[in-house]
C-alpha cells in the first residue's frame, strides 16, 4: 500500500502544528521581556530610600541605617551612585520621571536648586527646623551650612523663602603643607609661609631640590574657581565680586586683572606641579599623600584621604597666604554634603525624622569617627582635634558664591576657569581673559533678557 508522501499539505499541516508552540513561546518571551522590571521589588512600604554619592561613607551609612531600624523600626536603605557626575545625571533623570527617592542630594548651582524646588521635588523644611525641640533642630548646624540650603526673602529665583536642605557635614578648602618637605627646603616646618611672597619664594627652593611645590586638581574647574574666588574676594572684597556676578561691574575692571595676575605669578614662580591644568584631584591627592609635593590645595575630605593613603604623613593645614595685610583671607566652604526630602514622597515625615536623627550628636560623632569629615552639627565639631579642628575653626572665615545675591552663569564661570588654565600655560594674559569673559557675559545677559521678554509676551 502506498503511503501518502509527505507533500506540501501534509508538511504544511505538520509545520503548522509545530509552529503554534513556537509562536506561543515567542509571544510569551516578548510579553515577559516587556514586563520584566516593571515590579517595584519586594521593598517594605515603610522603607526610607536615600540616594547619595560619597563613596567614603558607604560602610558608615549602612551601619547607621541598621541602628535606625533597630531603634525606630523604620527600615532605611542607602543607595550609592558614584561618581558625582553620574549621580547628578541620575537625580535629574529621576526628577523628570518622578522617580526620586525619599531623600537625596542635588549637586547643582543655586539656580538648579531653585528649579528643583519650583518643580515640587524638594520639601520646605523650615517648619521642621523651627519645631519646639530642645534645642531647635536648626541650632545644631553651622550657620553658613544652613544658609547654603536656604532661600532668603526676595531671592532672585522667586522661590518661597525657607530652608530646603539638611547639611550632613561641612567643608572648606585650605592649603595642606608637608612638614618634612618644608624642613628639607630649609624652612621651619611649624611656620608655613604666611604671605603671598613667602609662598611664591618656596617655588625656587622646591625646584632646586627637585621637589614639587604645589599640587591641586586644577583639571577640575570648580577647584581652580575656588582658588580664584578666594583671592578675588581677598583683593577686591565680596561686594565687588557680587556686583560683577550681578552684571553691575565688568570683568574688565582692574581688580579682576589683579586677581588673575596671581596665576601668572604662580606660573612664573616654579611652584606649580607640571601639568597641573590637566591634573585630576585624585592624582594631586596621591602626589601629596606620597610626600612628593610641599603644598596641596584641597578640602577637608583630604584628612580622611591622606589618612587612608599614608597614615604617617606629617602635615599641617593653613589658610591660603594673604596678599593684602589690611584684609583677612577668606576661603570657599560651607555645606559639604546636604540631603533634601522629596516633597512628593508619601514618607516625607519619616524622611524628615530620619534626617533629624542622622544629624543628632551621637550619629554625627559616629560619622566623624568613621569618615573624618567635619560634622555639620557644630556642637560635635567643637570636640574636634588635629587638622580637622583647624578646618572647623576656620568655618567662620568661609564664603560661598551660592550665598551671593546672584550667582554667575555657568557658561561664564567655565570661560573664566578655562581662561585661568590658559594663563597658567602661558597662552593668554589676564587682560585677554577678562576681556573674553566680559564679552561672553554681555552675550549671555542679552540672551537671557531676550528669553525673558519672549516669555513675558507669551504669557496670556
Amino acid at each position: 500500500m502506498q503511503t501518502k508522501p509527505m507533500g506540501h499539505g501534509a508538511r504544511g499541516t505538520g509545520h503548522g502544528k509545530r509552529n503554534a508552540p513556537t509562536l506561543f513561546v515567542a509571544v510569551l518571551s516578548v510579553v515577559l521581556f516587556l514586563t520584566a522590571g516593571c515590579g517595584k521589588g519586594l521593598k517594605p512600604l515603610s522603607m526610607v530610600r536615600v540616594w547619595y554619592w560619597m563613596t567614603d561613607r558607604e560602610e558608615a551609612f549602612t551601619e547607621l541605617a541598621k541602628r535606625y531600624h533597630r531603634a525606630h523600626g523604620v527600615p532605611v536603605r542607602f543607595e550609592l551612585y558614584a561618581p558625582s557626575d553620574l549621580y547628578a545625571q541620575k537625580v535629574r533623570a529621576a526628577a523628570q520621571t518622578d522617580g526620586l527617592p525619599d531623600i537625596f542630594g542635588i549637586l547643582a548651582e543655586m539656580r538648579d536648586f531653585a528649579s528643583f524646588i519650583q518643580a515640587g521635588h524638594i520639601l520646605n523644611l523650615t517648619e521642621s527646623m523651627d519645631r519646639q525641640t530642645t534645642p531647635p533642630w536648626r541650632d545644631h548646624f553651622f550657620p553658613v551650612a544652613l544658609a547654603l540650603n536656604t532661600f532668603r526673602p526676595g531671592n532672585v529665583y522667586g522661590v518661597e523663602p525657607g530652608i530646603y536642605g539638611v547639611p550632613i557635614d561641612v567643608m572648606n578648602l585650605q592649603i595642606f603643607y608637608n612638614k618634612r618637605l618644608l624642613a628639607k627646603l630649609g624652612l621651619d616646618p611649624n611656620q608655613p609661609p604666611q604671605t603671598w611672597q613667602e609662598f611664591l619664594a618656596v617655588g625656587k627652593l622646591a625646584n632646586a631640590q627637585k621637589v614639587i611645590g604645589f599640587v591641586s586638581g586644577w583639571a577640575e574647574l570648580w577647584l581652580i574657581d575656588s582658588f580664584a574666588i578666594d583671592y578675588a574676594i581677598h583683593l577686591m572684597g565680596q561686594k565687588k565680586v557680587e556686583s560683577t556676578f550681578a552684571g553691575e561691574m565688568p570683568y574688565t575692571d582692574e581688580d579682576w586683572v589683579k586677581a588673575l595676575t596671581i596665576f601668572e605669578q604662580l606660573r612664573d614662580s616654579g611652584l606649580l606641579a607640571q601639568g597641573i591644568v590637566t591634573m585630576g584631584n585624585k592624582q594631586a591627592e596621591q602626589l601629596f599623600a606620597n610626600g612628593q609635593a610641599v603644598f596641596a590645595f584641597n578640602g577637608t575630605w583630604g584628612v580622611n584621604v591622606y589618612r587612608g593613603m599614608n597614615p604617617s604623613l606629617d602635615y599641617g593645614v593653613m589658610m591660603p597666604p594673604r596678599i593684602r595685610e589690611d584684609r583677612p583671607m577668606a576661603t570657599i566652604g560651607g555645606a559639604g554634603s546636604s540631603f533634601m526630602v522629596n516633597a512628593a514622597s508619601p514618607k516625607r515625615e519619616a524622611a524628615v525624622a530620619f534626617l533629624q536623627w542622622l544629624t543628632a550628636d551621637d550619629q554625627q560623632r559616629f560619622l566623624l569617627e568613621a569618615t573624618q569629615n567635619i560634622p555639620a552639627n557644630q556642637h560635635v565639631a567643637a570636640e574636634l582635634s588635629g587638622p580637622l579642628a583647624q578646618f572647623a575653626d576656620d568655618m567662620s572665615a568661609v564664603v560661598h558664591q551660592r550665598l551671593f545675591r546672584v550667582q554667575e552663569r555657568s557658561v561664564v564661570i567655565e570661560a573664566f576657569d578655562k581662561g585661568i588654565q590658559a594663563i597658567l600655560i602661558g597662552e593668554e594674559t589676564p587682560r585677554q581673559v577678562v576681556q573674553a569673559v566680559q564679552h561672553l557675559k554681555r552675550h549671555e545677559e542679552a540672551r537671557h533678557a531676550s528669553l525673558h521678554q519672549e516669555a513675558v509676551h507669551a504669557t496670556p
Binding site: 504544511g12 499541516t13 509545520h15 503548522g16 509552529n19 503554534a20 513556537t22 509562536l23 515567542a26 509571544v27 518571551s29 516578548v30 521581556f33 516587556l34 557626575d85 545625571q89 535629574r92 526628577a95 523628570q96 547643582a108 548651582e109 539656580r111 538648579d112 528649579s115 528643583f116 519650583q118 518643580a119 515640587g120 521635588h121 583639571a219 577640575e220 606641579a273 607640571q274 601639568g275 597641573i276 591644568v277 590637566t278 591634573m279 585630576g280 592624582q283 602626589l287 612628593q292 552663569r409 555657568s410 557658561v411 567655565e414 578655562k418 581662561g419 588654565q421 590658559a422 597658567l424 600655560i425 597662552e427 593668554e428 552675550h443 540672551r447 528669553l451 519672549e454 516669555a455 507669551a458
Partner: protein, 295 residues
C-alpha cells in the same frame, strides 16, 4: 493564502519583534524626543519649557565658537586615526595574513587594546605621559633627550596629539581584525596567477589586494570616523577637555551644556547638529566609494 501559509509568513515577525521594539523605544522614540526638546530652552528640571523654535540651532551654528572648535579638534584626531591607525592596522593584517609563526598569538595580542576599558586606558596613559613622574619622560632622559621632556597632556602643542596617540593605540585592533577577515576572503589563485605573470609584491598589492579590499576599507573608514568623532571617555580620563579648550570634543561640549549650564534643549540641538554632520559625511563617503568602484 491558507492559514498555514499565513502563519508561516507572520512567524518571522514575532521573532524580530523584540529587536524592533528595542529599536523603536531606544532609537526612534529617543530621537523624536531629542528633536522635540531641541526646540525649547529648558533646564531639564522645571515643569515649564520655553519654546524657542530653531533658536537653539541658530545659536549652535552662528554663535558657539567653542563647539565648532571642539568639532575641528575631533576631526583632527579622526584624520590622524584614518591615516595612521588604519595604515598600521592594514600593515599588521597583511603581515599576519602571510601565515607568520605565532599568527594566532599576534591576533590575540593586537585585539587586547580595543577590549580594555577606555577609562582604564586613559588613566594608564595619563601616568605614562605625566610631566612629573611619567615613564615616557624617563625614557627620553635615559636616551639623552631630556630637552624634549614636557607635560604631554598639559601643553597646547602636544595635548591633542597625545590623546590621539592613545586613541589610535586603543583602536587599531578593530581595523586589524576587519582587514584580516577581508584579506582572507581574497582568493589565493589571483595572487598565484599574478606571480606567474611576473607581478611583484607591490603590483600584487596595488592591483589585487587594494581593489578587492576596497569595501572593507570603506567599512573601516566609516567606523573610524563615527567612532573617533564621538571620542569622550578618553578625554575625561586624561585631560577633561583641557588645557583650556585644547582637547574639547563635541561630546564634552554637549555634556557641558547639559550638566554644566543646565541647557538641556541646547544640548539636544548640539547633538542633532553633530549627528547630522556625521551622517552626511558617512553617506558622502559611501557614495564616493560606489562611484569609485563603478569607475
Amino acid at each position: 493564502m491558507s492559514a498555514t501559509t499565513r502563519s508561516q509568513a507572520i512567524a518571522p515577525y514575532f521573532f524580530i519583534l523584540p529587536a524592533l521594539l528595542l529599536f523603536a523605544v531606544f532609537s526612534v522614540y529617543s530621537f523624536g524626543l531629542l528633536s522635540y526638546l531641541s526646540l525649547f530652552e529648558w533646564d531639564g528640571i522645571s515643569p515649564v519649557k520655553q519654546f524657542v523654535g530653531l533658536g537653539n540651532y541658530w545659536s549652535v551654528i552662528a554663535h558657539d565658537r567653542v563647539f565648532w572648535r571642539s568639532f575641528g579638534q575631533a576631526a583632527q584626531i579622526t584624520l590622524m586615526a584614518l591615516v595612521f591607525q588604519n595604515s598600521l592596522a592594514l600593515l599588521l593584517a597583511l603581515a599576519v595574513n602571510r601565515r607568520l609563526r605565532l599568527g594566532a598569538f599576534y591576533r590575540t595580542v593586537f585585539f587586547i587594546p580595543p577590549i580594555l576599558s577606555e577609562i582604564v586606558v586613559g588613566l594608564m596613559w595619563a601616568w605614562i605621559y605625566d610631566g612629573n613622574y611619567g615613564i615616557f619622560n624617563e625614557l627620553l632622559r635615559a636616551v639623552g633627550l631630556s630637552h624634549l621632556t614636557r607635560s604631554w597632556l598639559a601643553e597646547p602643542a602636544t595635548a591633542l596629539t597625545a590623546v590621539a596617540i592613545i586613541h589610535m593605540w586603543k583602536g587599531f585592533g578593530w581595523g586589524f581584525v576587519i582587514f584580516l577577515a577581508g584579506l582572507q576572503t581574497i582568493p589565493q589563485e589571483l595572487y598565484e596567477a599574478a606571480t606567474v605573470d611576473g607581478a611583484n609584491a607591490w603590483f600584487r598589492f596595488r592591483d589585487i589586494t587594494l581593489p578587492l579590499l576596497l569595501p572593507v576599507c570603506v567599512v573601516v573608514s566609516v567606523l573610524t570616523i563615527l567612532g573617533t568623532m564621538q571620542i569622550f571617555a578618553l578625554i575625561m580620563a586624561t585631560t577633561q577637555g583641557g588645557p583650556g579648550f585644547y582637547t574639547e570634543v563635541p561630546i564634552t561640549r554637549i555634556m557641558a551644556s547639559m550638566l554644566g549650564s543646565s541647557r538641556l534643549g541646547y544640548a539636544c540641538s548640539q547633538g542633532i547638529v553633530f549627528g547630522l554632520i556625521l551622517l552626511t559625511v558617512s553617506l558622502a563617503q559611501l557614495r564616493l566609494t560606489r562611484k569609485t568602484r563603478a569607475a
